[in-house]
């Protein structure tokens, strides 16, 4: 019995992308989490997007995020709050969706080629956190904020200030992502080749 390794890893990749995309969707389907320290309840959906990059790498992570974006724009109510449809893309928050895809890509690349090259746990955490903040917060906001400005007619500064309300929650999610990703990588060696 011969094992076709090419299709085996391709099957594995497709399944991983599908499962993570489904996970991101599932994270948007349940009610948000209320923490004591942050006044706004946070959904884990962006956390899922960041994790997709950190755990699956640049291509599979970006694909997972793309799948969620495609399915939501096609009409499924997968975005937090049961939202979906083309109106999201043409509305004020459309840029964030596009940002998800690039965010996963950047986080994945940084993790694969930098963070995971270090064996020291503290170094991994610091580089990991930095990578998630860059890819998960900076990149996503880089797409989201200008889009809001263009679509609503508000200037960049106002759009940026408006988005700052989400920053504490997103930073917390970045920390959680780093911790989860490093924990999983520790038990699942070879998750990202």
């Amino acid at each position: 019995m011969s094992i076709n390794t090419a299709s085996t890893s391709q099957t594995r990749n497709t399944v991983y992308v599908a499962v993570f995309a489904a996970m991101i969707a599932a994270m948007g389907l349940l009610p948000p989490i209320t923490l004591g320290i942050i006044p706004v309840p946070i959904t884990l959906q962006t956390l899922g997007v960041m994790l997709a990059g950190a755990l699956l790498g640049p291509w599979r992570g970006a694909l997972a995020s793309s799948v969620v974006v495609i399915l939501s724009l096609a009409g499924l109510p997968l975005l937090a709050g049961g939202r979906g449809g083309l109106g999201i893309l043409f509305g004020p928050t459309g840029g964030y969706l596009v940002g998800w895809i690039f965010g996963s890509l950047v986080i994945g690349a940084l993790f694969k080629y930098w963070v995971l090259r270090n064996e020291n746990k503290t170094v991994r955490f610091i580089t990991g956190l930095f990578s998630v903040l860059v890819g998960g917060v900076a990149v996503i906001y880089l797409f989201g904020v200008p889009w809001t400005a263009v679509v609503t007619g508000l200037d960049l500064r106002t759009s940026l200030i408006g988005s700052l309300g989400f920053l504490p929650g997103d930073i917390l999610k970045a920390v959680v992502t780093t911790l989860v990703a490093l924990t999983v990588h520790h038990s699942y060696r070879g998750l990202m080749k």
Binding site: S7, V15, L29, I42, G81, L86, F90, G91
Partner: protein, 201 residues
């Protein structure tokens, strides 16, 4: 927001045309600065939606949240620039969203996916496999209920320990169990001799 039941004339137009028209209209809307013209366009859009027998119930929630955002935008813009500008921007944004939703509500999910496949077909040249993409999309849909169940179970289990609102306590088990499901599924697919590289045998 699935337009499975819409049977109006809009539903019969190919999604590619609708989406293209939407893009062109959106750009056009940005070139218009007269609130009068925008107001007439928005009235036309509403008429369009009404004649297409769009299910307005589905629009209630998105329109509500949009209304909240729009009021904030209106006030901010009015204070920062002038009120005519604020009216123009709000009308523009409202029209764009209405038109976008009209496409969403009159295009079936399968038709939308077909549209995305058409849009993405040039990607074939950088090695993307369209059959694989289609498979990935349907596989994802199939996994969503299962993972939603896992997420719910994990949250309840952690809730019993008083950690139900701790994102870390909820994420780790969710991810580990999801990876396990992924590995088991991939193994099962391979054990059945599933060759994902090609569909021809």
């Amino acid at each position: 927001m699935i337009a499975s039941k819409n049977r109006s004339y809009l539903a019969r137009i190919r999604p590619g045309w609708k989406f293209g028209a939407l893009l062109v209209l959106s750009i056009g809307l940005y070139l218009i600065n007269s609130w009068l013209i925008l107001l007439s366009i928005i009235i036309l859009s509403v008429v369009l939606l009404l004649t297409a027998r769009v299910d307005f119930k589905q629009l209630r929630m998105p329109l509500l949240s949009l209304a909240m955002i729009l009021s904030v935008v209106f006030i901010l813009l009015g204070l920062q620039t002038d009120w005519t500008n604020a009216v123009v921007s709000v009308l523009r944004l409202l029209t764009m969203c209405l038109l976008a939703y009209s496409v969403s509500l009159t295009t079936s999910f399968d038709a939308m996916l077909e549209l995305f496949q058409q849009v993405a077909s040039p990607l074939r040249f950088i090695g993307a496999n369209p059959a694989q993409i289609a498979l990935g999309l349907s596989m994802t849909i199939r996994f969503i209920p299962e993972l939603k169940k896992v997420y719910l179970e994990v949250r309840e289990a952690q809730h019993a320990r008083g950690l139900g609102n701790n994102p870390l306590a909820v994420s780790v088990p969710l991810v580990i169990r999801s990876l396990k499901i992924a590995d088991e599924t991939a193994e099962a697919l391979d054990a059945r001799g599933y060759d994902s590289a090609s569909y021809q045998r």
